[in-house]
């Protein structure tokens, strides 16, 4: 249970930033 909590919350902390990198790249590509 503890491991699941740590894993999940680590993703909550890190993944939005990771997703953003790709999303912003996509938007920039679309603008170009």
């Amino acid at each position: 249970f503890d491991k699941v909590i740590v894993m999940t919350t680590t993703k909550r902390k890190q993944w939005p930033r990771k997703i953003l990198i790709h999303a912003v790249q996509a938007l920039k590509a679309e603008q170009e």
Partner: protein, 156 residues
């Protein structure tokens, strides 16, 4: 701050634990041995207490270092301080990753929308100018056609 509080709470715990394991109590449990060797009992108890304190302090130090707690707790103090003016409960993860991640996109989508609005406006401006030239061109062409018609009629 939290780091200070952490150390204070642990020290208090240790103090009370040592008070609970007082020499009286210790001598009472090892009564027969204590009668036989009171000095030794005393020094064993002192050793016991100081060793226990040392081990527990070392463990706490290790936990502090491993979790980088000193820095982390100070930064938490700062975050809490900044949120002082905030009355109502703050946002918390909804448990639906897609939804929460989506909100992180909003600022970029707003920028994208602003970009598109600007680009659209520029394009409209540009087209307006070209449209004016096209209209002028059409006018010019119908003028030429009329002139040609006039000449043609004259011929005929």
């Amino acid at each position: 701050g939290r780091a200070q509080l952490f150390s204070t709470v642990v020290d208090t715990f240790l103090e009370k634990l040592v008070a609970a394991g007082s020499y009286q109590r210790f001598a009472n449990c090892y009564r027969s041995f204590c009668k036989l060797q009171p000095e030794l009992t005393k020094s064993i108890h002192n050793q016991f207490v100081s060793q226990l304190q040392e081990s527990i302090k070392a463990e706490i130090q290790e936990v502090m270092e491993e979790g980088n707690l000193e820095v982390v707790l100070n930064s938490l103090d700062k975050i809490v301080e900044e949120a002082k003016s905030q009355e109502e409960p703050a946002w918390r993860p909804s448990g639906i990753p897609a939804e929460d991640a989506r909100s992180s996109l909003v600022p970029y989508l707003l920028k994208h929308r602003a970009y598109l609005l600007r680009a659209l406006r520029n394009k409209e401006e540009e087209n307006k100018k070209v449209a004016e030239s096209v209209l002028a061109g059409r006018g010019r062409i119908s003028e030429l056609q009329q002139q040609i018609q006039a000449h043609k009629r004259a011929w005929q």
